[in-house]
């Protein structure tokens, strides 16, 4: 965080902000880059144990928000501390208060609700910041979709955060309300020395829980279909990804790492310590720890933490979202350890005079600092790799294997052939857990990275149509890079609102195009045959454009990668009766009320364009149609294998894998998850 350059303009904006011309020379007030806010690095319980108390309080450096109001209510989040269980509204924290400014915010503690508000604000903003760096663009929350006439999408400027919303060991992101709801409860502690029995535990004071829930919200803003359980990986991914964000965000705090590494005392396997750290901290509350159990465990006899041996069978057998998600968390953590080990090998050789054996006693503070910095740097890279990968994933029905391909492709796109170690570390870690992408011949970087699009003259013609349009979009959007609302509106209007929107053009130009059908895997010819509805405006198949966005990421060499990304999504209904599969055309309002025996089946693809050259770089597709292996244009026929897999999952294995609460109180498994994350976090 601290490596960030100081912005000149008022708001804390990325470097690409155009300079503002002042009519008359005068001294401009120098605004702070950051607001320092004290908070827990883990959660309050860690302040009670002697060896962790000193590192549990850290100072969060949150981008300075000039317009921050009491709440805190800023540009991205609004904290409203209303507790409906007691119908009490608590005084909002005013972080611009003189004393608060002088003292880096309110004192950490459980007794003052204003500190609770500060804590959720600080961690949520830190998480948002990490995403913005990784994504190379602004975080925009999922729009509110409403039924009925008129506008069906509404811009949501701020995520709402309720620090004391429920009385349960639960905290969740509500896609309905675009809000985080945190609970509090009486502890029934496993470790009585850390939690007093009967004492209240606040989930809103745990860094991990806040980061986890914020990550859910951000992910929902990018991929509205990632909370639809179409295969066992989807919900697991949502959980795992949120946990990965929480986990690696921890490791970007060097003070925490420094303290831990200094305790290793010549233990060269210090990477194990990081594993232990990852697992032990932040587990005091809630059910979040289950995701991290897969990383490793303490040996009963020696008391030493040991990393778990990956078992490829797990990916085949574990279906419950948390258990399955833990496989992904473990894989990413494994990759991180390999990278870290590789990066510090030279340091350890220097420190041990090439012997590899350190002297007894405490480590040299310089070495500790270097190791800690290296660990923080590695975790930041891993975190950003994981976040960046999202732009290279299909918009629907994600699997872990596809996510791995996203990670590799994103890295190749950003760094070219450099820094091979990172990719190998990821591939190795996934391979050891039996996570293989579907339809890949080898696990080499070349095979995993999505390749460029094979071009025919026809393709080039089609791409040119899109590219020209995206050029217009680029020219318009670069003027508003600091304004999230404008970004949202311009992107939306270009995508599907304007009369000559991208949506409209695609319909007009691509309708009936076999080549576009090949490129996207979606139905453009004879679409009615697979149950795809007619478009409302122009004759053609119904489809949606999700999330048109402009991306600018600095490369390690100091250059920039500028992309435009958008995705198409198409859906149809499928009925399976007596083993026979029949496509069903879904009605307009079908998402509201419809027949529970008709399954919604989606296909989609993500386009990545080079912004500067306006060339198509990648098409990452999850085809709706059965695509021939030789890459030729598919006939208009559903991917039956995937349909059946989804059916088996949604109607058999999925519901069985869910918990108690879901079994009794959940509605139908496949849809109608009114609050999917509330259910997932119920234990």
């Amino acid at each position: 965080m601290s490596s960030r350059k100081k912005p000149r303009a008022a708001a804390a904006q990325p470097e690409s902000q155009p300079q503002q011309q002042q009519p008359q020379p005068k001294i401009l007030p120098k605004l702070p880059s950051f607001r320092n806010l004290r908070g827990y690095a883990f959660d309050p319980s860690m302040s009670l144990a002697l060896d962790t108390a000193t590192i549990n309080e850290i100072v969060y450096q949150v981008p300075w928000e000039k317009e921050l109001k009491a709440g805190p209510v800023g540009e991205y989040v609004e904290v409203i501390d209303y507790d409906p269980t007691t119908r009490t509204l608590y005084a909002p924290a005013d972080l611009n208060d003189d004393y608060a400014l002088a003292m880096d915010g309110f004192d950490p503690g459980e007794a003052d609700p204003r500190f609770h508000q500060q804590m959720v604000y600080a961690v949520a903003m830190t998480t948002i910041r990490n995403f913005e760096i990784g994504l190379g663009r602004k975080v925009i929350w999922a729009p509110r979709r409403t039924a009925g006439k008129g506008k069906s999408e509404h811009y949501v400027p701020r995520l709402r955060i309720y620090p004391h919303a429920v009385r349960d060991a639960n905290a969740y992101y509500s896609p309905q309300k675009k809000a985080l709801l945190f609970g509090y409860f009486q502890a029934t502690p496993v470790n009585r020395s850390l939690h007093m029995p009967g004492a209240l535990v606040f989930t809103c004071l745990s860094h991990d829980i806040i980061a986890h829930e914020t990550a859910h919200a951000i992910l929902d803003g990018m991929f509205p279909y990632y909370n639809e359980p179409t295969n066992p990986d989807v919900l697991a991914f949502h959980e795992a990804f949120a946990d990965i964000v929480a986990l690696f965000q921890h490791f970007t705090f060097p003070e925490v790492l420094r303290h831990q590494i200094s305790r290793t005392r010549g233990d060269l396997e210090s990477q194990n310590l990081l594993g232990q750290l990852a697992q032990e901290f932040g587990i005091a509350m809630g059910g979040y720890h289950s995701l991290r159990d897969a990383i490793g465990s303490k040996d009963e006899k020696t008391g030493k933490w040991e990393p778990a041996k990956p078992d490829p069978a797990d990916y085949q057998t574990k279906i419950e979202p948390h258990a399955r998600g833990s496989i992904l968390v473990a894989a990413v953590f494994d990759a991180f350890l390999s990278i870290y080990k590789h990066q510090v090998a030279d340091l350890l050789r220097i420190a041990s005079d090439g012997s590899g054996v350190l002297r007894q006693g405490a480590l040299h503070p310089d070495l500790v600092n270097r190791l800690a910095d290296e660990a923080a740097r590695c975790s930041r890279r891993v975190l950003h790799m994981c976040i960046r990968a999202l732009d290279y994933c299909p918009p629907v029905d994600l699997t872990f294997g596809e996510y791995l391909r996203g990670i590799i492709t994103a890295d190749v796109d950003l760094k070219g052939e450099e820094q091979h170690v990172f990719r190998i570390a990821f591939i190795e870690a996934f391979r050891r857990r039996g996570i293989y992408p579907h339809g890949i011949r080898s696990m080499g970087v070349e095979a995993l990275a999505h390749s460029g699009v094979s071009m025919t003259t026809e393709t080039e013609r089609l791409i040119k149509i899109i590219a020209d349009y995206l050029g217009e979009y680029r020219d318009k959007i670069v003027k508003h890079l600091g304004d999230r609302k404008r970004i949202y509106e311009i992107s939306r209007d270009f995508a599907f609102r304007d009369s000559d929107s991208l949506h409209h053009r695609l319909l007009v130009k691509m309708g009936d195009s076999a080549e576009f059908q090949r490129l996207t895997g979606l139905a453009w010819k004879d679409w009615q045959a697979v149950g795809v509805a007619d478009s409302r405006a122009v004759p053609g198949p119904r489809f949606m454009i999700n999330y048109l966005r402009l991306v600018s990421r600095p490369t390690p060499e100091g250059g920039m990668v500028n992309n435009i990304v958008f995705s198409l999504q198409q859906r149809t209904g499928v009925r399976i009766e007596k083993g026979v599969l029949t496509p069903v055309t879904l009605k307009d309002n079908e998402e509201g009320e419809d027949d529970p025996h008709t399954m919604i089946f989606r296909g989609g693809c993500t386009f990545v364009f080079d912004l500067d050259r306006l060339q198509l770089k990648y098409v990452i597709s999850k085809p709706l149609l059965a695509c021939p292996a030789d890459g030729s244009a598919p006939e208009t026929k559903l991917d039956e294998e995937r349909v059946r897999a989804q059916y088996r999952y949604q109607y058999a294995t999925g519901p069985q894998s869910m918990g108690e609460y879901q079994a009794y109180f959940g509605s139908s498994f496949a849809r109608s998850l009114n609050e999917p994350f509330a259910l997932l976090h119920q234990h």
Binding site: E78, Y90, R160, R167, D168, G287, G659
Partner: protein, 611 residues
């Protein structure tokens, strides 16, 4: 009976089998149902006809028994009444006496009007000839006590029915230290009792509160409840939730009682609000209160403590009844899941145990009129008034969270349900001669099962017959499970009821027969998804070789989570498993099984031979 049945009531009764059975045994095994029906509830003409009918039925077995050592119980016929999902058993212990020892074990069903339940209860009374030697109630759930409530007049009239003894779990007694014995951690148990009471009231309060919120049109507009977002309007989600919740609430407190109780005890009358004296009444099921206080019985209630044995009961010679549960340990009672260390210890899908927190209950209770408001977790100085122009009131009202927290009631309901299930009285009934055991665990969940293995049996420990691999005498509990030939499947074959490693996996007897009280035609809201649990069936069917007697297999799938069209039905699976039996076993099973004349409409019975 000879006519082929139109509804597949029981798996064994495919038309062919039924015909075979009819030819061989039907005339013997069918009890005169008509006589039972005639059995009057009126005082005047009471017992005679019923007695006659029952005697006739019992004649065959008693005659056979009489030839052997008269006086000793040689067999027990277990009759499962088929009102619907819920337990109601009559066990007759045959010893060659003119009148066998009779035990009525629970009388409940999850739903049913007075008119619906009455014929069953009349049949029970006729069957026991107006006298029950031991009235046993395992735990206070509607599906175990509702019959007492709905047929109160029959049960409380000594002209109709007399009761020799009542047996209840030790936790039903006022003190935790009666019987010269004690709970492990009396305070913890007292706390548990208080918590249970509070949770029950909170559950009902939350249920009411959600219903009220749904009924309040203001909410629909204020929080945009009718507006759907991909899927489903919040209102519908609330309605679904409320339905299931109301079911859970009724399971613990009954539905229509409240009005009566409120009338009987106006708020404030007994003082102390819901948690005071009034709460005592409010927090108990009427069926249970009738059992405790209204059914006449000379003797005082026998409270059963785990680790104890009931023996030397007149009429029960040759029978020893070991009490296995409920646990003395409050922590075990609260335990619904096997701990992580015991991998595969239960049949849950999900390893995470339920969190125990009373914070929700306190707030839910406080929503009710006349109750103290719940205490905020902060100093009141931090609270500020909610002004009409506050963002919460004015901006984005679709984001209000006034009622979201009430969803926590689902958690509470599950926890409470588990807790009450774990209060189940567990009986292991042993035929002393052969050592065969009949296990009646009520709805015990994991913690209850696990506690059996921790019982200090004292001198009784020497009664274990089996030895482990090292030649050491088995713990008596394990030994009893090993000798179990009859298992009343706990909790209607859900994943809750049966422990795996410490339970079903220890039942290895070749003759094992299981009875399960599951009926899809009459079942609690939201239950069908978890019953039967397929992994339990996968263990139970081979172990019993298909001798699994289910109350009603109609529409019951083998795997309720899989609604695909070619799914197997439970009946088919049972029939398939029965192929594992030898011809002799099959004959013996068919001979021991019977049902009432009208195709087993009222009951099914299995006779356990003790020799």
């Amino acid at each position: 009976m000879a006519a082929p049945r139109s509804r597949p009531r029981h798996a064994s009764l495919s038309a062919k089998k039924a015909a075979k059975k009819t030819a061989k045994k039907a005339p013997v095994k069918k009890v005169a149902k008509k006589a039972a029906k005639k059995a009057p509830a009126k005082k005047a003409a009471k017992k005679a006809p019923a007695k006659k009918a029952a005697k006739k039925a019992a004649k065959k077995t008693t005659k056979k028994a009489a030839k052997k050592a008269a006086g000793k119980v040689t067999s027990a016929s277990v009759r499962m009444y088929r009102m619907g999902t819920g337990d109601c058993f009559v066990i007759k212990f045959h010893s060659g006496r003119a009148r066998p020892y009779t035990m009525l074990l629970d009388c409940g069903v999850c739903n049913g009007s007075k008119e619906f339940i009455r014929p069953y209860v009349e049949d029970i009374i006729a069957h026991v000839e107006g006298h029950v030697d031991a009235l046993v109630v395992t735990h206070e759930h509607k599906d175990h006590v509702y019959g007492f409530d709905q047929c109160r007049d029959l049960f409380t009239d000594p002209q109709t029915l007399t009761v020799e003894e009542k047996w209840l779990a030790w936790l039903e007694s006022e003190t935790a230290t009666e019987d010269g014995d004690g709970a492990e951690g009396v305070e913890a148990v007292e706390q548990l009792k208080k918590d249970v009471k509070k949770m029950k009231l909170a559950l009902r309060a939350a249920s009411h509160e959600i219903a009220r919120a749904i009924g309040d049109e203001d909410n629909h507009d204020r929080a945009n409840w009718k507006e759907a977002r991909r899927g489903y309007a919040p209102l519908r989600a609330y309605e679904n939730f409320a339905k299931t919740l109301a079911g859970f609430s009724a399971l613990h407190l009954g539905e229509d009682e409240e009005a009566e109780d409120k009338a009987a005890l106006p708020i404030g009358a007994a003082g102390g609000g819901l948690l005071g004296a009034k709460g005592d009444v409010m927090s108990s099921l009427k069926g249970m209160r009738i059992v405790k206080d209204e059914i006449p019985c000379e003797k005082s209630i026998r409270y059963c403590w785990p680790g104890r044995v009931i023996e030397n009961v007149p009429g029960l010679e040759g029978i020893r009844i070991f009490i296995l549960g409920p646990p003395r340990n409050a922590a075990r009672i609260r335990q619904s899941h096997a701990p992580k260390e015991e991998k595969g210890g239960d049949y849950h899908h999900n390893e995470d145990a339920l969190q125990h927190s009373m914070a929700f209950a306190a707030a839910a209770l406080a929503t009710q009129d006349g109750e103290e408001p719940a205490k905020p977790p902060f100093d009141p100085a931090y609270a500020i008034p909610m002004l009409a122009d506050h963002a919460y009131e004015t901006e984005d009202r679709w984001r209000r969270i006034d009622h979201d927290w009430l969803m926590g009631a689902g958690q509470l309901a599950l926890r409470l349900n588990s807790c009450i299930n774990n209060l189940s009285l567990v009986l292991a009934i042993e035929f002393m001669g052969s050592g065969k055991v009949m296990l009646f665990p009520g709805d015990a969940e994991y913690g209850n099962w696990a506690s059996w293995h921790e019982i200090d049996w004292g001198r009784l420990g020497g009664l274990a017959k089996g030895k482990d691999e090292d030649g050491k005498r088995l713990h008596l509990t394990r030994d009893l499970l090993d000798r179990t030939v009859f298992y009343k499947v706990a909790h209607h074959m859900s994943h809750h009821g049966t422990a795996r490693l410490k339970g079903l996996h220890l039942m290895n007897h070749q003759e094992l027969v299981a009875m399960a009280t599951l009926d899809y035609q009459n079942i609690g809201e939201g239950w069908a998804g978890t019953m039967p649990n397929r992994p339990i069936l996968d263990d139970l069917l081979p172990r019993t070789k298909g001798r699994l007697i289910v109350m009603n297999t109609t529409d019951v799938p083998y795997n309720p989570a899989d609604p695909s069209d070619n799914r197997a039905s439970l009946a088919e699976k049972i029939e398939e498993a029965r192929e594992l039996m030898t011809t002799r076993e099959r004959d013996a099973f068919d001979a021991a099984y019977s049902e009432d004349e009208e195709d087993g409409k009222l009951w099914m019975e299995f006779e356990v031979h003790g020799e």
